[in-house]
Structures are given as structure tokens and as C-alpha cells.
Symmetry: C2
Subunit: 407 residues, 2 copies
């Protein structure tokens, strides 16, 4: 497997376009479209929030029943959540419009929305956007990058990545884009992410692979503990790489799984590192756990602790808050066995041994915590399992963005 340039248009046969439809933002693109020249097998994972946005309900049905997906239509600015039957009708209308201009089946069109909850979509603008994008679809890396920019809301960076690997003697490409910055908390998946591949694989294994990979990637990030109404990860495979169809969990499947893990971990970390208002990516590794679930619960509890996140913002080695967050996580461990380390580009430092502070240098700890990516490693000395979670610091700007978001 190797990392390559590009995103959602990296794989063979995938085109993208974007448009400024004026849905909410001024002077920027706010719609994107992904199109595959041939029908795709599709897998999706969606928010576990009971309050599901209309596009989530639409996509769940399409992913389960569709004979082949060919397009995804995405808008930023309005989430189409808490919009009742009217909102769901707009998903159908969006799909119908796209199906007409793209000459595909209505049940081959997925839709996704992100933005303010509770407002209805301005359908005239959306329709105009779709009609404008269709003739502009192309497979260049630039069009993928433009699409990645068009789906941003409070994001400050566009997020895309791609890899190449070999299956059945053929070169296969897997690439994706995502957006997400606030209302980010691990529970199934917590943002919009679109991953495309030219791999030839059975529908069943495509879905199995996505379900497995989201557990350790998107489900291990958090910005603010709020699980969104719109979270969606879509994975489309059009088979154009020409490899023999993968129909069992053989070596090719596991190669694909590793590539999918790489792409999704990269995208998930991009979301955590671009959390609303944040200044640092905050990574927590729990090692020496009895089992993976225990390690995950502990790691997630630390990255979601407001007090710990504020301490990271302050570059303050306030390790007591980390131990405290592990303690209320619900996972069992012995606090008096814990070793704790801080790590970043500025070095590595052990802070606690067997639950009690070492005589470490506060200055050195402050230096380590002043980097753009900061890691805490907690060794609980109970076994061999480990897990990693990704979050970000809690800053003035997070509060500012979210006190002002609708205005």
C-alpha cells in the first residue's frame, strides 16, 4: 500500500463537481456531487442518534436496497434535520433531480446534508446547483479537492486522502474526503465522509469491511461529545480496477481492509485535528489493557473530558484530570498501577509511575504540550490490549464559534 495524491476522484471512474448554490454561505461553494461512470456497490454507516436527519433515513434505505449507486449529492449550510415529512420529501426531490440530469436511476442517488438543524432546504437553489454541477463533472484531482472544500462548514481545512494497493494483480485505488469540526462524538460515525474505490468486491464484504473499520477510526474521535443527527460514512466501489471480485476474506480482502483503515484513520484524525476552535490534535493511547473494549472506554473518556481538553489548551501538565477522567469512565483498573507519559514532536516524558507523580520538569512537560499534535500514553499494566482515540483541545474559539453559529 502506498499513499498517493488525491481524494474522492483518485479511483478510476469517479468524477466530482461542486457549485456555489447560495444555500446559506455567501461567496463560496456549498454543494458537491460525486459520480461514478458505472454503478457501485455501496456501504454506509450512520449516526446512532434517535434524531436522524432526513438524508440519513434516505441513504439507509438506498444502501440497503439499491441495485447500484451512481451519484452522491451533498450540501453544506443546512442539515435537513428535524424537518419532518417535508424534509424527507426534499431528499427524494434531490435524488429525482440528480437522476434526471445524470440519466441514472433515482434509487442510485445518495444525498447528504450538513449545517444548521431545523431549517428547510431552499429547493430551488438546490435544484439549480444540481443542474449546474452535472455538466461540470470531471475526474481530475482538482475537482475532488474542490468538492472537499465545498462540503466544509466550520471546518478550517479541506480533508482528503488516498492510497493505492494491489489486489488480484491489479492496481486498486481508494480515496476519500470528509468534513467535520463540531458536534463530533464517536458513536457509529460522526460527520460526513465519502470514500470511493475501483476495487471489485462483493456487496457483503464491502459492508463488512466498512463496519469493522469505523469502530477504530471515526468512532474513536470526539470534538465535543455531541453525536450529530447527520453522521454518515459512505463507501462506494465501482470495480473498475478489474481485479477478480473479492468474495471471501482472503489476502486481497485484508489488504483492502488495511487500506480502508489507513484512509479512514487519516480522515478521522483530520476531523479531530480540525475540531472547532482547536489548536492541537490530542491523541490518547491506552496500553496494557485486559481487552480492547476496556482500552477504548478509557481512551475515549480522556479525549472527551472538558477539563483535560482545557488543560491541553493551556499547555498545562494537569495529569490529575487525565487520571480522573479514566476513573469515571466506567472501565475497571487500579489507579495505583498506572504509568503516564506525554509525547510530541518536542520529546517524551514520564509523568506518573504507579499512580503517583514523578519529579518531572514542568517546563519540559509544557514544551511537549505546546506542539500541534500531543499524545498521552497510559499504561494500566493489566494485559496486552491497546486502543487509540483522537480529540482536540477546548478553546475560547470553540465557545465563540458555538455561541455564534446560527448568526
Amino acid at each position: 500500500m502506498k499513499k498517493i495524491e488525491g481524494g474522492v476522484t483518485a479511483a478510476k471512474g469517479f468524477l466530482a463537481a461542486s457549485a456555489a448554490a447560495g444555500i446559506k454561505y455567501k461567496d463560496r461553494k456549498d454543494m458537491a456531487m460525486i459520480y461514478s461512470q458505472t454503478p457501485c456497490k455501496a456501504a454506509g454507516t450512520f449516526t446512532t442518534n434517535i434524531v436522524k436527519a432526513a438524508p440519513v433515513k434516505w441513504d439507509q434505505k438506498i444502501v440497503a436496497d439499491s441495485k447500484g449507486v451512481q451519484a452522491v449529492v451533498i450540501n453544506a449550510g443546512i442539515a435537513n434535520a428535524c424537518t419532518g415529512a417535508e424534509g424527507f420529501g426534499y431528499c427524494k426531490e434531490t435524488a429525482r433531480t440528480a437522476a434526471k440530469v445524470l440519466h441514472v436511476s433515482e434509487d442510485g442517488v445518495l444525498v447528504a446534508s450538513t449545517g444548521v438543524i431545523g431549517m428547510q432546504l431552499p429547493m430551488e437553489k438546490l435544484t439549480a446547483g444540481i443542474e449546474a454541477m452535472a455538466p461540470r463533472l470531471d475526474g481530475s484531482l482538482e475537482s475532488g479537492t474542490e468538492a472537499a472544500k465545498a462540503i466544509m462548514t466550520t471546518d478550517t481545512k479541506k480533508k482528503e486522502t488516498a492510497v493505492e494497493f494491489t489486489a488480484g494483480g491489479k492496481t486498486v485505488t481508494l480515496g476519500g474526503m470528509c468534513k467535520g469540526s463540531g458536534m463530533i462524538h464517536p458513536n457509529m460515525c460522526t460527520m460526513l465522509s465519502f470514500v470511493t474505490t475501483d476495487l471489485n468486491i462483493s456487496d457483503e464484504l464491502l459492508k463488512a469491511a466498512l463496519s469493522e473499520v469505523v469502530q477504530d477510526t471515526y468512532n474513536m474521535i470526539s470534538v465535543d461529545g455531541d453525536t450529530s443527527t447527520n453522521d454518515t460514512v459512505l463507501l462506494l466501489a465501482n470495480g473498475q480496477a478489474g481485479n477478480p471480485e473479492i468474495t471471501e476474506k482472503n489476502e486481497d480482502y485484508y489488504t483492502f481492509l488495511a487500506a480502508l483503515y489507513e484512509v479512514n484513520e487519516t480522515l478521522a484524525k483530520k476531523i479531530a485535528g480540525d475540531g472547532e476552535g482547536c489548536t492541537a490534535l490530542f491523541e490518547v493511547k491506552v496500553v496494557g489493557a485486559e481487552n480492547k473494549d476496556q482500552a477504548k472506554i478509557l481512551a475515549k473518556s480522556v479525549i472527551t473530558s472538558n477539563l483535560t481538553k482545557a488543560a491541553i489548551f493551556g499547555h498545562d501538565a494537569n495529569w490529575g484530570r487525565i487520571l480522573c477522567a479514566m476513573g469515571y469512565s466506567g472501565a475497571a483498573f487500579d489507579p495505583e498501577q498506572v504509568d503516564l507519559y506525554f509525547e510530541s514532536a518536542a520529546g517524551s516524558l514520564q509523568i506518573i509511575k504507579n499512580g503517583v507523580a514523578l519529579n518531572y520538569s514542568e517546563e519540559q512537560a509544557g514544551d511537549i504540550l505546546s506542539q500541534q499534535s500531543v499524545t498521552v500514553i497510559a499504561d494500566i499494566k493489566m494485559g496486552e490490549a491497546s486502543a487509540t482515540a483522537w480529540g482536540c483541545d477546548l478553546t475560547f474559539d470553540y465557545v465563540k464559534i458555538n455561541a455564534d453559529y446560527r448568526s
Copy 2:
């Protein structure tokens, strides 16, 4: 029952004192002592965090085994948490010193600490503080108020309350003080609270009453989702009101329970309303629930949502975030049945009917949300049960306080 002036010294036979021991803060009192002229029955509820501070471990043993509690020694500035065997030894030493100067038994002394995690207590200063306080003990309301001030950390207001009621023909007084502002999240109890009464009641019923009342009071508040290592509620009853001992759940018991609820709800709301950096008390009532547990889960999910809290700070009627937080709470309900109201001193306004926004006035909603105490009422139309939770808004100052706290 009637509300009266005072706090921890309101009930007969309870004295208090405070001192500036210089443990961490300069130019302010940072130690307090509560003393009962006669031995008390004691009940306590403590943090569920696995990482328990040394004083929590000490008090759990005393409350379970003591033949009669006569004193509580409290310090602010250092939490004596994550301090290993050395820290636990300091609890014993504190109790021994207090027992000596007060001429009581060592196992009749409770201890409580609040402040920075991971530092050892400066025992010389603590000992000097205890020796200074003992001769100053008195039963005036002022000495209770001074004690309530001495136990503050990031609190901006001292917190005390008292009520009077009748049992067995005698006037009974119940009063308390508490502190708490950050690392506040409902799980058993989440701060330091000390409640005293001259009621005569059996040990068993005293403990039962406290356990019942904390569920709907301290366990329904949150400032930041972080369950502390030190959370402690202590309830002392010295019997000096002279009522016949309450030994069964009769009318007197339920009168006491109502008084205890009143005192603890008042104290709990004072904590939520003085949450670190906050500008408003944020109350959420869920009504029309199938059962109380469901109502509690929903109400707590909303008061702990960072996004909702930031919207309250921004006086923004961003009701989508409230519905979203209910949706990821884990409790089942139908979003399309929910009615939502905002309420405060500035009026009452329905925002949502059956899950969809009404055409309400944003200006009027903004006015309602600009008050110092703001209530959201969510009617889920499934039954008759209800619950209330209390939190606060998320502000720049919360981040500032917690990025800087140790320095």
C-alpha cells in the same frame, strides 16, 4: 417547613470555625471545621470515580463504622487525590490532631479536601490550622457563613441554606453548606456538601434518606461532565431537637425527607448556577415521560451538551442542539412527538410542536435566554413522569479558568 437564615450552624448544637492556613491561596481563609457538641449519627454519599481521593476513603470507613461523629475538618486548595499511602496517612493525622484538640475520638472525625489533584498536603500548615480553629468554634450564623466561604475554590459565591420543620412536636432545624464549580457531573454526588440537623433519627433511616435525596438533587447537576475524585455529601444528625427518635418511615420521616430534599436541591442548584465561568443557571425539565429514569437520562443529556451550553451563552434559541442531545442520550422517544418551550423571568415561549419548529419570534426567544436563570421544558408525550436537571452555560471564562487553573 419554612426557609430560614443560616447554614451549617443553624441546627442546635452545631458550631463552626475557619482559618487562613496558607495551604495554597494567599490572603483568604482555606480551612473550616464543623463541630457538634454531642455525637452525631452520620450518613455520607461519595464519588463513584474509581480514582477516589484519600479523604473519601477515610470518610467511607468512618461513616460505616463510627460510634458517633463529632467533627469535620475541611481544606481547600489541595484535593489529596492521587496521593497514595502518604495521602491516606495525612487523613489519619488530620483526624488525630483534631481529635486531640477537640477531646473527641479519632474515629469521630471526618475529613474533606478540594483543590488540585496529585499534590501532597502541607501537614504543618494543616495542623496549625486545626489548632487555630478549635478555640474559635461557635454556633453563630456568621461562623457558618465564614466556613462556607473558606471551602470555596473556583466558586464565586458561598453556598448555604437552612429550613425549619416540626417532628414529634419539636422544632427541627436542617442546614447545610457546599462548594463546587468545576469537575461537576452527576454521579452519586459531585462536590463537597455538609448538611447538619438536630433531628433525632435512627442511623439506618438517616442513611436511607440521604441516599434517596441525592438521586434527584446533586446527581441531577452538571457543570462540565467531569465526575470528581473528591465528591462527598455528609449529613450529620445530633438529636438535640429532642423529638422522639424516628425509627420508621412515618409522617415525621417524610417531613424530614421533604426538608432534606429542599436543602439539597437548593445547594445543588447553587453549584450549577455558579458553574465555572458561567453566566446563567440552565434548567431542563423533561415531562410526559414513561418513567422517571427516562426523563432523567434525557434531561441530563441536554444539560451536559457542550453545544447546547454554548448556545445558551450566546442567547441563541438553537433548539436543534437540544433535540440532538436528547437523541443521543440513549433513552427512547419519538422526536416527531416532542414539544419544546423556553422559559425564564422574561416569559415563556413554545419553540417546537411535534418535533418541528413553530414560527416563533427569535427576538422574544433571545430575550428569554438572556436571563440569569433559563429553563427548557421538553414534553415527550409518552406518560406522566418527569425529571429536572440543572447545569450552566459554557463560556470563554470556563476555558480560561481551566486552561490556567494550576498556575
